[in-house]
């Protein structure tokens, strides 16, 4: 499966295929329809999901791993991962897929790391869960992975607890933990939002390496359209649980949808000027239109 692959995304054979995905939550105030008919394919590429808070990005990502909260229900015409039907996979199959074939980096590293285990032990354990190797070998790999994610003193950091590391370091540790299992697909939910721009770029370059060198498929969730399009191959723009538009990242300036244009225009620019920023005018009609499905490969 991991034979030869091109540098160009393999459009003809998606690893992940999603059709008409819906996520609904029942709450005391009624039904929340968080994801409304999302369809896309993922190849060995960098796919961005962009939108403002509440647009359904995280819930789309979590549904792919069936990690939706207990009060939520997933429906989809199709949810396939390399020949497996994720909609009907049993709990054991899902457990095997999670964290070894599809990994997810959650928005907040502090909640995703176990507070009572050293970070090194967690990375090593993640490695051992995936592959049956001796402890010493797992430790060696964990240390080298810490080095890969640009942690300066891996030996020292290995024995620190999560509360002893900074947010930026915590996020890189999370990424190390996810990458050590060599997943086919990585879903990264705002992996760099808590980081400084320069560190943010370094983390993105690690994910970039995984896509280029190991043919991983990456779903990068973010609110930063500018950043995502400078990094990804394609971008899905979400609003109100729907895909408004699917963009070729290199052609951001050709974006058609007024929501996409609005998101771009309202960003401050480094042009030394201080004119008022255009504000985003929302049109209720956007919520009535069906999800854009141009992100699927076969058409």
């Amino acid at each position: 499966m991991n034979g030869s692959f091109n540098k160009e995304p393999l459009r003809e054979e998606p690893m992940l295929s999603v059709r008409d995905l819906h996520v609904r939550f029942s709450t005391s105030k009624g039904l929340v329809h968080a994801v409304r008919g999302v369809s896309f394919d993922l190849g060995r590429e960098r796919l961005g999901i962009v939108g403002e808070s509440g647009s359904g990005k995280s819930q789309t990502g979590r549904a792919l791993l069936r990690l939706t909260a207990g009060n939520g229900r997933i429906e989809a015409e199709k949810l396939m991962f390399s020949g497996m039907d994720l909609m009907h996979a049993n709990a054991r199959t899902m457990r095997n897929i999670r964290g070894s074939r599809i990994s997810m980096i959650m928005q907040d590293p502090k909640y995703s790391l176990n507070p009572v285990l050293t970070v090194g032990a967690q990375i090593a354990e993640s490695c051992r869960r995936h592959e049956n190797i001796p402890r010493t070998e797992a430790k060696k790999r964990a240390l080298s992975m810490l080095d890969t994610v640009h942690i300066r003193e891996p030996e020292k950091v290995y024995s620190l607890y999560p509360h002893q590391v900074s947010g930026g370091m915590g996020q890189r540790i999370m990424i190390a933990m996810m990458l050590i299992t060599n997943p086919d697909v990585m879903i990264a939910d705002e992996p760099t939002s808590a980081l400084d721009v320069t560190v943010q770029m370094q983390v993105l370059s690690l994910l970039d390496d995984m896509v280029r060198e190991r043919g991983m498929g990456l779903v990068l969730i973010s609110h930063d359209l500018q950043l995502v399009s400078s990094f990804c191959d394609r971008v899905l723009v979400m609003y109100g649980g729907r895909i408004m538009e699917t963009l070729d990242a290199k052609r951001l300036d050709e974006a058609q949808h007024p929501y996409t244009r609005g998101l771009l225009n309202c960003l401050p620019r480094l042009d030394g000027r201080h004119d008022d920023l255009p504000v985003l005018e929302r049109d209720p009609a956007w919520l009535a239109q069906p999800s854009d499905a141009s992100g699927v490969f076969e058409q």
């Binding site: 370059s205 359209l225 990094f231 309202c266 401050p268 620019r269 480094l270 030394g272 504000v279």
Partner: protein, 258 residues
């Protein structure tokens, strides 16, 4: 309006001691908007917090409008300089209505015509009178930040310190808040010092920017330099490049700045 000379501050002691800010100088004219940018932990918030008297164990001098400020601030001196924080959730009391939040500083400073002042300031930050008796949980993130700005403005200060005022907001809401801050500065002739890790945000509101790294200002940037990227210090150049998006080639040349 603001003059800071040789400001330094240290936290902790023994081997945990860290010098958060070293030999910091700053000079901001009345009505000017000055920016401080740098990675997290570089000492930006510490400077603002010392200015409003949250920290008192610093060395050096801080002058506001020619008057040196004491290490412990008096209510009178606080009135002229107010701060807006990043987190619009944490900075408002969850069980206080907008009215109570805005009236409190008026009561402390013994100011009259409270109802009139509250309604006027709400209007100025773009919230109608219908927001007056709402609680924070009944407001969106952007509306909460408007309330926080109203609270800072209600004492009619001359200087506003802004600590990452839009970092927790969506980009569309950020644009609205930046426009509001800009309009308020013009209308009241306010002097701003704004802190952010986002160079574009600071560059939008400010005409001069100091770049901090590990407690020291490494370079000051003009509007021209924001545009052209003609910068001297390695860290400033990296920050400028990274602020323009992902660039794999440029990244390969990045160095850890010690």
């Amino acid at each position: 309006m603001i003059d800071i000379n040789d400001f330094s501050i240290t936290f902790g002691s023994g081997k945990n001691q860290i010098q958060a800010v070293k030999n910091f100088n700053l000079s901001v004219a009345e009505g000017e908007s000055f920016g401080l940018v740098g990675e997290s932990g570089s000492g930006k918030s510490t400077v603002l917090r010392a200015m409003v008297g949250i920290y008192s164990h610093w060395t050096g001098t801080i002058r506001i409008d020619g008057q040196p400020i004491a290490h412990k601030r008096t209510p009178a001196s606080r009135k002229h300089m107010q701060m807006v924080f990043q987190d619009p959730y944490g900075s408002l009391h969850p069980r206080r209505t907008v009215d109570a939040t805005l009236s409190e500083p008026l009561i402390i400073h013994g100011m009259d015509k409270r109802e009139e002042r509250v309604l006027k300031i709400l209007g100025e930050v773009g919230l109608g009178p219908e927001y007056r008796f709402r609680y924070p949980h009944q407001l969106s993130g952007g509306q909460r930040q408007r309330v926080a700005i109203a609270r800072a403005l209600i004492l009619e200060p001359r200087v506003i310190l802004l600590d990452e005022p839009t970092s927790a907001l969506d980009v569309s809401v950020q644009a609205e808040i930046l426009n509001l801050l800009s309009a308020l500065r013009k209308a009241h002739g306010l002097t701003y010092v704004m802190v952010s890790h986002d160079l574009a945000v600071v560059g939008h509101l400010c005409s001069r920017i100091a770049v901090m790294n590990r407690g020291v200002v490494v370079e000051e940037m003009s509007e021209d330099q924001m545009r052209t990227g003609d910068l001297k210090h390695e860290y400033t150049r990296q920050l400028w490049t990274a602020s323009h998006g992902y660039d794999r080639k440029a990244l390969a040349g990045f160095k850890e700045i010690a």
